[in-house]
């Protein structure tokens, strides 16, 4: 029963494909699998820790100021991961660019805090946040795998060529904006067709 709180976030309530949240990073960051992995970790960190704190403080935060309080907590955690990444992983920091601080307005996090964390127990919240993080990671990694393979030719993670190049002249449009929209549109349709969503 409890495990359901975790698993629902992976498919049934998949942040990107079911709830249509967090679209901005999904389109912008998915030019390579490496970037998607980095972003997944950052989002997971912020989502899990912020919702955990909000759930722990839910009786302490008054209703009237709950949104500003949530925002301060989330924004602070985003700043923390921003500083940490800038110092310890500067290449990834540069690739994520402006989308790292933009995690603070990622509707997934504020949405989950409002709908779930502020009402449920700390342990349930932790499972929910973890599940949503996994679902988000799966979504953006699969999109970036498609875009990188078709658009750059090969999939390279931290310098290792994980999937060799299919061709020497890849469809560059795939790593440009049109390719981003196209990939998600087609994936959405396919998932609906398979009645998964």
């Amino acid at each position: 029963m409890k495990l359901q709180e975790f698993t629902k976030g992976i498919v049934k309530k998949n942040a990107v494909f079911a709830l249509a949240l967090g679209l901005c990073p999904t389109l912008a960051i998915t030019t390579s699998v490496e970037n998607a992995l980095g972003m997944s970790l950052a989002v997971a960190f912020v989502l899990i820790s912020s919702n955990f704190i909000i759930s722990a403080l839910k009786h302490f935060i008054p209703q009237e100021v709950r949104i500003p309080c949530f925002i301060v907590i989330i924004a602070s955690l985003v700043t923390v991961i921003d500083l940490l990444m800038h110092g310890y992983s500067p290449t990834l920091y540069k690739h994520l660019g402006i989308f790292l601080p933009l995690i603070v307005v990622n509707c997934i996090i504020l949405g989950r805090a409002e709908v779930f964390a502020s009402k449920r127990s700390v342990s349930d919240t932790f499972l929910d946040a973890a599940g949503i993080s996994v679902g988000f990671a799966l979504a953006i990694i699969s999109v970036s795998a498609i875009r990188e393979l078709l658009g750059s030719g090969a999939i390279v993670i931290f310098g290792h060529k994980v999937v060799p190049a299919l061709t020497s002249s890849p469809a560059t449009a795939m790593i440009l904006p049109p390719g981003a929209f196209l990939t998600i549109g087609i994936l959405l349709a396919l998932l609906r067709r398979a009645k998964v969503m």
Binding site: C24, I71, V72, A75, T79, V105, F181, G185, A189
Partner: protein
């Protein structure tokens, strides 16, 4: 000396906030089903974007930098934006109930519009614009957002009359339409100003 016209045309066409920079997507897909709603949202966003560009620039330049707390910008900027939208909502509710009913639901959505925070961050930390350039960028980016929204709403209203396969109905088709719009806007990338 910054090229203000270049910044403006860049923000509207070449580096359109939605179609090339991927910001402001949630309202882009959420509000573009009706042309009327799209127009209202577009103008509201442009207003908030311009004002918050100015406010955040001033706070960054005259508060955060002198105190060496630039790292607080994420927290401060989003609080400024959220507060401003809140104040604006109260003002509209008090002064024009009709306008409030028209825009009501959109206003809280504007706070989480990543385009607004995105522009604020771009003006200060990424591009390092002057106050005038930041304001121009704010207005122009809002205009670009409005343009993208209008184009999308026009497309989607026409698509309502079409009969696509069920799996594609609604959001998937919207994404593919956006892909074509983005492809068209790619044509601007060669523009030399």
């Amino acid at each position: 000396m910054e090229n203000l016209l270049g910044i403006a045309i860049g923000a509207i066409l070449i580096n359109n906030i939605v179609l090339t920079k991927f910001l402001g997507l949630c309202p882009f897909f959420g509000v573009s089903t009706k042309l009327k709603n799209a127009t209202a949202m577009g103008f509201a966003v442009t207003f908030v974007m311009t004002t918050s560009s100015i406010l955040t620039w001033l706070i960054y330049e005259y508060l955060l930098i002198p105190l060496h707390i630039e790292y607080m910008r994420i927290v401060v900027f989003i609080l400024v934006i959220a507060s401003f939208v809140q104040v604006m909502e109260m003002f509209i509710r008090a002064s024009s109930p009709k306008l409030h009913r028209a825009l009501g639901i959109y206003l809280p959505l504007i706070t989480t519009n990543c385009a607004i925070l995105g522009v604020a961050l771009m003006n200060t930390t990424v591009e390092g614009y002057s106050l005038i350039a930041a304001t121009v960028n704010g207005v122009a980016t809002g205009a670009g957002f409005l343009l993208a929204l209008l184009l999308m709403a026009g497309l989607r209203e026409s698509l309502e009359l079409a009969d696509p396969p069920q799996a594609f109905q609604g959001l998937p088709l919207a994404f593919i339409s956006a892909a074509l719009l983005a492809l068209a806007f790619q044509g601007f990338s060669g523009m030399i100003l």
